[in-house]
Amino acid sequence: MRLAVVDTERCIGCQSCMFACSRRQQEGGLARSCLGVKSIGGMERGFMVIVCRACDNPPCAKTCPTSALTPREGGGVKVDITKCIGCGRCKDACIIGAVFWNDEINKPMICIHCGYCVKFCPHGVLKLEKTREVKH
């Protein structure tokens, strides 16, 4: 299963998804959030919704020097936080900015594609899909 963005134009910027992600991890606030919603240079232009695309051959894992990140079956990565040294290479390797950083613990925050956030998107911006729908 993989988290996907259906249509960013439907996004009203409420960020309920970001709070949901933290809540799934037994916290309030936003430090642990693994997805991001921000305006495209001003609210009048709408929003970008940044989520992990579950790459087949994820650059973030390739660059991890301690194998804290390993490719996950079906795409994306698994994070073994005990192995992570907080170097931040994974964050730099993700060109869409989907490796979020938790400054409080100095570790990456990466989506596990659980779909908890989807339940809290009031306008159908996000969905959980079985396989990648590749559009040519």
Partner: protein, 584 residues
């Protein structure tokens, strides 16, 4: 009480000395919850008695609540300051990303005092506070450009608020607003002018923290309950669908829609500028404040040709809501949606409170019509109902304070009428221009006795429409009903949740959500706290010279019939007497 759930850190900033420090005030949050409750305490502590609103001593207090960043719809920041518009308690609420950003930066409140030597903007990123030189953006014509520049200059995209003022604030127009995220405002009572007096162009706040909760499973379940009740509520759906603009037609039908300076309460062209028309013809996008799944913010897309070249267009994205549509629409007799939107855009660009601006322009139009002023005063500007182009020019002259007359308008309608006459149709209550409800005594008395003279203090318009249409109230009964609502709203604004979510945050939910952050309260406790906060606000007002015996009542509100018939001056005076007795 277990205290590490509360946002007890107060960030103090001294603009005169470029200093900042943090004060722990768990005591305030324990006793007064947050938002309004703690803001009035911080105001009393930090604002010296009798201080000039434009002096360095006048503090700006921003406060959020213990639910901010934890529960949906806890999306508001409360600002308190001494108002340059009324010379008394200034309280204004704003959403956008402001509340979540302040909490995520690690604070429950921010107190700003002093006056900067040079134009400055503050950049607060978590525990770091930067005093940035804003000389380059001071005097810039458009507040939109200011927002763009700061956006490019600061980190924290998606996690920040950018509160800024326009030229109205810089030039100390007493009803200048502070704008956040382009479309939300600390609109009323002149916070923008207080920013301007401090040479403070903007405040950026960002952060990304974790918040602890007592019992995560319980928290998740309770969150779901609140969230589902919000997204499934028909009332909240109304705010999402047409938004507050939905009010135009029913209020007009009722005969409670102030039109042409309240010479009538029905607008013959209401159907041309209704919420329905704006949605069908212009609605381009809907937005939400941070942590609000509803999204009541409605943005119109206005496409217009430049005119000097073929196929050369611009598209402006302009926010609309009921109150600006009343003030800059029906109150000025404007029946073209495009005209209203263009005027709104100008008011936004300069950073004025749209409500006060509309009422001021309406008074000036009637004064000119009646010959109380002439074109000599207006500098040849022929103010005329419905002529939005002329109103756009007048807005520029007000912000420029270009001469005696426009300088008077820049101080509000009560001040202007005291200079030029026409008091009987100067529609302000206790110094603040009227909101868009002529529904009956509930609306007007509510604004007179409300602690911040806002229709949102106690929703008197709702009492008119729900109760008084069926049976009359004595002044005693009315005041009792208004106060009951106003006490409860102190709790809501201390949490600080959006008033639109008042149907979601009923007492039971308030108690349960507060439990998750360590409060152990009963409903009775809540009512007592609400009453006490209200009393504290009045204490400040009385300390600052608020006078129950000497105030202006425009005759116009008695002359134009309301949907529930007539009421008179004595009714208002009696109501004020009752509140005076209660508050003394």
């Amino acid at each position: 009480m277990i205290n590490h759930y509360l946002p007890s850190n107060i960030l103090h900033i001294d603009l005169s000395n470029n200093k900042f420090w943090i004060e722990k005030r768990q005591d305030l949050f324990e006793k007064y919850i947050g938002g309004t409750g703690i803001a009035i305490q911080l105001l009393q502590e930090n604002c010296p008695k009798g201080c000039d609103p434009f002096s360095p001593e006048n503090p700006i207090v921003f406060a959020v609540g213990p639910l901010t960043g934890l529960f949906p719809l806890a999306s508001k920041t409360v600002a308190m300051f001494k108002s340059p518009h009324t010379g008394n308690l200034g309280e204004s609420h704003c959403g956008g990303r402001s509340a979540v950003a302040i909490r995520m930066a690690g604070y429950g409140a921010i107190v700003i005092r002093g006056i900067s030597n040079n134009p400055t903007y503050l950049a607060i990123h978590g525990s770091k506070v930067h005093f940035r030189d804003a000389s380059t953006i001071w005097g810039m014509e458009s507040i939109f450009t200011v927002g763009r520049i700061i956006r490019e200059n600061e980190p924290g995209s998606g996690l920040r608020t950018i509160m800024r003022i326009g030229s109205a604030g810089e030039r100390l127009v007493s009803y200048a607003c502070v704008t956040t995220e382009t479309y939300r405002h600390f609109g009323r009572l002149g916070l923008g002018a207080v920013f301007g007096s401090k040479k403070l162009k903007a405040v950026v706040v960002s952060g990304k923290r974790s918040l602890k909760i007592k019992d995560s499973k319980h928290y998740q379940n309770l969150y779901d309950e609140v969230y589902n009740s919000a997204v499934n509520s028909p009332v909240m759906q109304k705010y999402h669908d047409l938004g507050t603009a939905e009010n135009i037609l029913p209020l007009n039908e009722l005969g409670g829609l102030p039109t042409r300076n309240l010479q009538t309460a029905r607008f013959e062209n209401a159907s041309k500028i209704s919420g329905e028309v704006l949605a069908q013809e212009y609605l381009g996008r809907r937005l939400a404040c941070s942590h609000c799944p509803i999204g009541c913010i409605h943005i119109a897309a206005l496409r217009e040709p430049y005119g000097d070249e073929r196929y050369f267009y611009k598209t402006s994205m302009i926010c609309y809501d009921y109150e600006p549509m009343y003030a800059l629409g029906t109150m000025l007799g404007i029946s073209e949606p495009e005209g209203f939107l263009k005027l709104m855009d100008q008011v936004e660009k300069r950073g004025l409170d749209s409500m006060s601006t509309g009422v001021v322009l309406a008074w000036a139009t009637e004064a000119l019509e009646k010959g109380i002023i002439t074109e000599k005063e207006t500098k040849g500007i022929k103010l005329r109902w419905g002529d939005y182009k002329i109103y756009i020019e007048a807005v520029k002259l007000i912000v420029d304070k270009s001469d005696g007359f426009y300088n008077a308008l820049a101080h509000g309608v009560e001040y202007a009428a005291s200079k030029y006459g026409g008091k009987e149709f100067a529609l302000s209550f206790m110094g603040n221009e009227m909101p868009g409800y002529h529904t009956g005594p509930g609306a007007h008395v509510g604004v007179f006795i409300g602690a911040r003279h806002s229709h949102l203090d106690n929703a008197g318009y709702s009492i008119d429409q729900k109760i008084l249409v069926n049976r009359k109230h004595t002044p005693d009964e009315l005041v009792e009903n208004l106060l009951k609502e106003e006490y409860w709203r102190q709790i809501l604004s201390s949490l600080a949740v959006c008033f639109f979510a008042r149907g979601v945050y009923i007492a039971d939910i308030v108690l349960k959500t507060l439990q998750t952050v360590g409060y152990d309260l009963t409903e009775n406790n809540l009512h007592k706290i609400g009453e006490e906060i209200h009393r504290e606000k009045y204490k400040f007002k009385i300390r600052e010279g608020f006078n129950f015996d000497d105030f202006h009542i425009p005759n116009r509100i008695f002359d134009t019939p309301t949907p529930i018939g007539e009421f008179d001056r004595d009714f208002v005076l009696n109501a004020v007497k009752i509140i005076k007795k209660k508050m003394s």
